[in-house]
Structures are given as structure tokens and as C-alpha cells.
């Protein structure tokens, strides 16, 4: 069974766009996710990623990333609530815990964890859309002038996710074949094996790339299909999101405090920025 994150050729604008245009567009949303802690803006970035993915036809990737992202977010919320005892609103006193000491769960720590989790989920969603919609072959070719001397760098950038996705699908199948009586493999060991295996295989793929002549000096002329008529749209939307994000940061659209009490900024600047960010999700519309 194919991994939901594997690239699938489709005829949408995002798939047709050059890798640099797609990266500029999706990257601008990643920048917003790292730049802002305001839940409204982060939720808008997440919404934009979902809309972009659905419009680009990457339904399976969006579903899988949502599931993984929300699981990760929940984990972050729980861990943050247990290790951070700042905040005025104590929801529960859990007493003395080994290593952690006195554990008080506060509403503020929960909110801070939720924002961190939301950020991780948004980045995961955007990465899933990138992986499912941007052709790694074109990324590899686009990277040649930049990373021609290092096939390994190019392979890690363009192939690590597809390799990890394929390995992940195989490991899941293998786990299913062991049957219900077999001991369950924890997520952490599975992730470690996945990463180690993918890195190993990426090195082998890099060796193959060397043998295919990737490190040779790139021939003159622009490679075919390097540009698309949709590129301008994605560059423009990416730039608009970045400009709005930076301007919003300067005028205080990121108002959001966790401690000592949660204060969510929802002024006009924040709402306007969230609207612009959400609207950017419609860029892949044909």
C-alpha cells in the first residue's frame, strides 16, 4: 500500500508549479507558524494548509497528517502540563511525582502546550502537502546547480521523506502481519528505526545518484519544465503572506500571553492577518 505522503502526479496548479514556487508558498506558511504564537493565526495557518492540501487533491496526506499532528499536539499538551507549573489557574494538584516534584496542572500551561502542539501540527500538515504535491524528481533537478557536488545533500532534501514514508508503510505492514498476539512495537522505537533506516537508504540512494553522474558539472541551459504559468501566483501569495506576517508582527498582531494568565489577542490586526493567512490556502485552486 502506498504511503499517503508519497508524491502522486496530478494536474493541479501546485503540482505543476516549479519546486521553488511551491516551496516559497508553503514555506511562507511555515514561517508564519514559527513566527506567531497567537492561536488564531496558528489555526488560520493550519486551516490554510488543510485547504491547500484538499484543493491540490492530497486528501490522504491531509487526513494522515491531521491524525498524526493532533496526536503529537495532544502529547505536547500533556507533557507541558506536567512539567510546567507556572500560571494562576490551577486546575488540579497531582501531588509529588518522582523527578518532576510537585505537579500542579494549570490552565495556562495547558494553553501554552496547545499552542506548541498546534504549531507542530501545522508544520506537519504543510510538510505533508509538500511531500504529496511537489515532485521529488523536479526538486532533485532544481537542486543540482546548488548541491551538485553533494549528491547526499540533494538526496536528503528530496528523498528522505519519500524513503521514510515507504519504510513506514512496510513497517506497518510487517507489524500487522505479526498478528494481535505479538508484542506491540512502541512508537518511539519505530520512529528511531524509521529514521535510521531512511538515513541509511538515503546514503545508498546518494551513491546511486553519484553513479548516474549527478556530481558532473550541470550542462548549460535551463532544464525543461523548470517554470509553470502558476509560479507567479504562488510566489505572489507567498510574498503576501510573508509581508502580512512581518507587518502584523510589527503592529502587535501576535498578542498572546500564556503566563501568568492566558490573554488571547483578537484585535483587528490579528483577525485581518488570520483572514489573509487562511485565504492563502486557496492559492492551489485551479
Amino acid at each position: 500500500m502506498r504511503s499517503p505522503f508519497a508524491y502522486t502526479p496530478r494536474s493541479g496548479p501546485l503540482q505543476a508549479a516549479s519546486p521553488s514556487a511551491a516551496v516559497a508558498y508553503l514555506g511562507s506558511l511555515v514561517v508564519i507558524a514559527f513566527l506567531y504564537s497567537n492561536a488564531l493565526v496558528l489555526a488560520a495557518a493550519g486551516g490554510a494548509a488543510i485547504v491547500a492540501g484538499l484543493l491540490a487533491g492530497a486528501h490522504r496526506a491531509v487526513r494522515a497528517a491531521l491524525w498524526m499532528g493532533l496526536t503529537l499536539a495532544l502529547l505536547i499538551v500533556v507533557v507541558n502540563a506536567l512539567v510546567v507549573d507556572r500560571g494562576e489557574t490551577v486546575l488540579a494538584r497531582l501531588g509529588e511525582w518522582p523527578l518532576l516534584g510537585s505537579v500542579d496542572v494549570t490552565a495556562e500551561a495547558l494553553a501554552a502546550g496547545a499552542v506548541l502542539g498546534l504549531r507542530a501540527a501545522v508544520v506537519l500538515l504543510l510538510f505533508a502537502v509538500y511531500s504529496a504535491c511537489v515532485d521529488p524528481d523536479r526538486v532533485l533537478r532544481a537542486l543540482r546547480p546548488l548541491a551538485g557536488r553533494s549528491a547526499l545533500t540533494a538526496t536528503l532534501v528530496s528523498r528522505l521523506v519519500p524513503l521514510a514514508a515507504a519504510d513506514g508503510a512496510r513497517l506497518r505492514d510487517a507489524a500487522r502481519l505479526r498478528g494481535p498476539a505479538a508484542a506491540a512495537v512502541g512508537r518511539a522505537p519505530l520512529a528511531r528505526r524509521l529514521l535510521a533506516g531512511s538515513l541509511d537508504r538515503a546514503v545508498d540512494v546518494a551513491a546511486t545518484l553519484e553513479l548516474r553522474g549527478y556530481a558532473l558539472e550541470a550542462p548549460g541551459g535551463r532544464p525543461a519544465r523548470s517554470r509553470s504559468r502558476h509560479d507567479r501566483r504562488f510566489y505572489a501569495v507567498g510574498a503576501a503572506v510573508l509581508v502580512a506576517g512581518i507587518a502584523g508582527k510589527l503592529i502587535g498582531a501576535d498578542a498572546f500571553d500564556f503566563y501568568p494568565a492566558v490573554e488571547i489577542g483578537s484585535g483587528p490586526a490579528t483577525v485581518a492577518l488570520a483572514f489573509v493567512v487562511l485565504l492563502s490556502g486557496f492559492a492551489p485552486h485551479a
Binding site: 540512494v205 553513479l211 548516474r212
Partner: protein, 285 residues
């Protein structure tokens, strides 16, 4: 009038002289004083137990050792007249093709067509030339029907053929194969070996094939080179190899040769045809 010598025919496809190599941080050498020469058009079988240095030798012949893996190397490697220690895998790509054990790790593109086309694109061939070369190699390997497929939908055997096509599409003078049948079923494995023999005869490409299942390849080979602990322990014809293996390294004996040996039948059979002939002569069939 004396016949003019063809320099391409005179240059060995592969020439190793006193080659010694150790991987980084390795305690012992992977290759020890290996000297070997492959003439153009030969199909040579590289035999030996696991970890005897077969894969390292192949990796040295295509430039991955030492350029990609690092380590310490001494001696000389020439591939079609090019100094491999100076050139590196990128420059050697035009004269040598390499197919590794695991087909999954030697596929770098999403579609079959893009995968086969990649080496030509990397050296800057125009699209028309690329299209023709891809079609030719796909026909030769009987995979034109796979060209439109994505690589993740292929079986192991199909993937191995695609990897072979990508290695052959530049029409290299030397093709190195590292246990290409290890992940194939017996029928697909046999098909691949005889496909290699056909390409060797029709295209004149020199082939160095490392394999464990010798019974499958001996009949197709012109010559056998055996390795032990990083050094060449035998270099000769397939028939001589069977006699040598019986006396010196029984682990490399083929099942049929062992059976004939136990039954006291000579000569030891290189392939099925040999075995049938020997049995017929003794009225055993």
C-alpha cells in the same frame, strides 16, 4: 597490408593492479593486493563467501571506493583507460554502470521513464537522444510497458530490470552487478542472468557479476574470479573453477558439481546441458 589496431579493443574494460583498500576505522583490509584485468566483451563471474571483498571490489571499480566511502587505498584502478582513483564516480558514469543488490536503494526518481532517462539528462543529452536511448534500452530489457509506471508500483524483479536499464542506458563499456538476483525468485533470477548474457553478446558490453548462487550463472560466464579474505584466490574458466572449488573451497561448489563429484563423474558440469550430456554418455538417462 597489416590490420590497424583498434585502441578501444586493446584497452581493458577494467584493470586493477596491486589494489589494497580499508574502509574508514576498519580493523582489517577489505581488499588485499588485487590484480585483475577484464578484456572488452567478457562476462566474468565474481565468486566468494560473504564479506570476502566482492562488493568492495565492484564499488572500487565504479569509483564509489574511495570517493564516496572514504578509507585508505593503494594500487591502481583503470576503467576503460580512465584512472578511477582520480576520476571518481561521476566521471566514470559514462563508461561504467553499476547495479546493486537491493533494487530499492538504486532508484532515485519517481517514474520509470525519469529513472532510466536520468543519467542521460545528467550528461546533457538532448531530449530526442534521451527518448531514443530510453526506448532502445527498454526494448532490450523487455520493459517498454513499465515506462509509464511509478517506481513504487513495481515488483522486485521489475525494479531490478529498471535499475539495470538505468545502468545500461548510457551504453557503458563495463557493467558491474552486485548479486542482482538475490531478491528475485528462481525464474526471474535465471531470466536476468540470460538477459545479461544476451546483452553481453549483442552489445559487446563487459560484465562483472558478483553472485552467491553460482549454479545459476556459471553456464553464462566466460571466466570466474574467486575471492577470499579480500584477495583473488582463483581466476580461470568455469570448468576449472569447479575443480578448484572441490579441492580448495568446497563452500563454493555448486550442488550439481558436488553430486557428480560424489558419484565420481567427470568432468564436473558447468550447467544443465553439461550435466545431461555427461549422464547420457554414461547411459544414466
Amino acid at each position: 597490408m597489416p590490420e590497424l589496431a583498434n585502441p578501444a579493443r586493446l584497452t581493458p574494460a577494467l584493470s586493477l593492479e596491486g589494489l589494497a583498500y580499508s574502509y574508514p576505522h576498519a580493523e582489517r583490509a577489505a581488499l588485499r593486493d588485487v590484480s585483475l584485468q577484464l578484456d572488452p566483451g567478457e562476462l566474468v563471474l565474481l565468486a566468494g563467501r560473504s564479506a570476502c571483498g566482492k562488493s568492495t571490489l565492484l564499488r572500487a571499480a565504479c569509483g564509489l571506493v574511495p570517493h564516496f566511502h572514504g578509507g585508505e587505498i593503494s594500487g591502481r584502478i583503470e576503467v576503460a583507460g580512465i584512472d578511477a582513483l582520480e576520476a571518481g564516480p561521476g566521471r566514470l558514469a559514462s563508461v561504467v554502470g553499476y547495479v546493486a543488490q537491493d533494487p530499492e536503494t538504486q532508484v532515485v526518481s519517481t517514474t520509470v521513464k525519469a529513472e532510466i532517462e536520468l543519467p542521460l539528462e545528467m550528461r546533457g543529452d538532448p531530449p530526442v537522444v534521451r527518448a531514443r536511448a530510453v526506448e532502445e534500452v527498454a526494448l532490450a530489457l523487455a520493459i517498454p510497458h513499465l515506462l509509464g509506471r511509478t517506481v513504487d508500483t513495481l515488483s522486485g524483479g521489475e525494479l531490478q530490470r529498471v535499475a539495470l536499464a538505468a545502468a545500461l542506458v548510457t551504453r557503458p563499456q563495463l557493467v558491474l552487478l552486485d548479486e542482482p538476483t538475490s531478491q528475485l525468485d528462481p525464474v526471474a533470477g535465471d531470466e536476468l542472468i540470460w538477459l545479461l548474457r544476451r546483452l553481453n553478446e549483442e552489445w559487446g558490453v563487459t560484465i562483472l557479476l558478483a553472485e552467491h548462487r553460482l549454479e545459476r550463472c556459471l553456464a553464462a560466464a566466460d571466466r570466474v574470479v574467486a575471492m577470499d579474505s579480500g584477495a583473488v584466490s582463483f581466476d580461470g574458466s568455469p570448468r576449472d573453477f569447479l575443480a578448484w572449488a572441490r579441492d580448495s573451497d568446497p563452500a563454493l561448489e555448486t550442488p550439481a558439481a558436488r553430486l557428480f563429484s560424489l558419484a565420481g563423474i567427470e568432468p564436473l558440469p558447468v550447467g544443465v546441458r553439461d550435466a545431461r550430456q555427461a549422464l547420457r554418455e554414461r547411459g544414466l538417462r
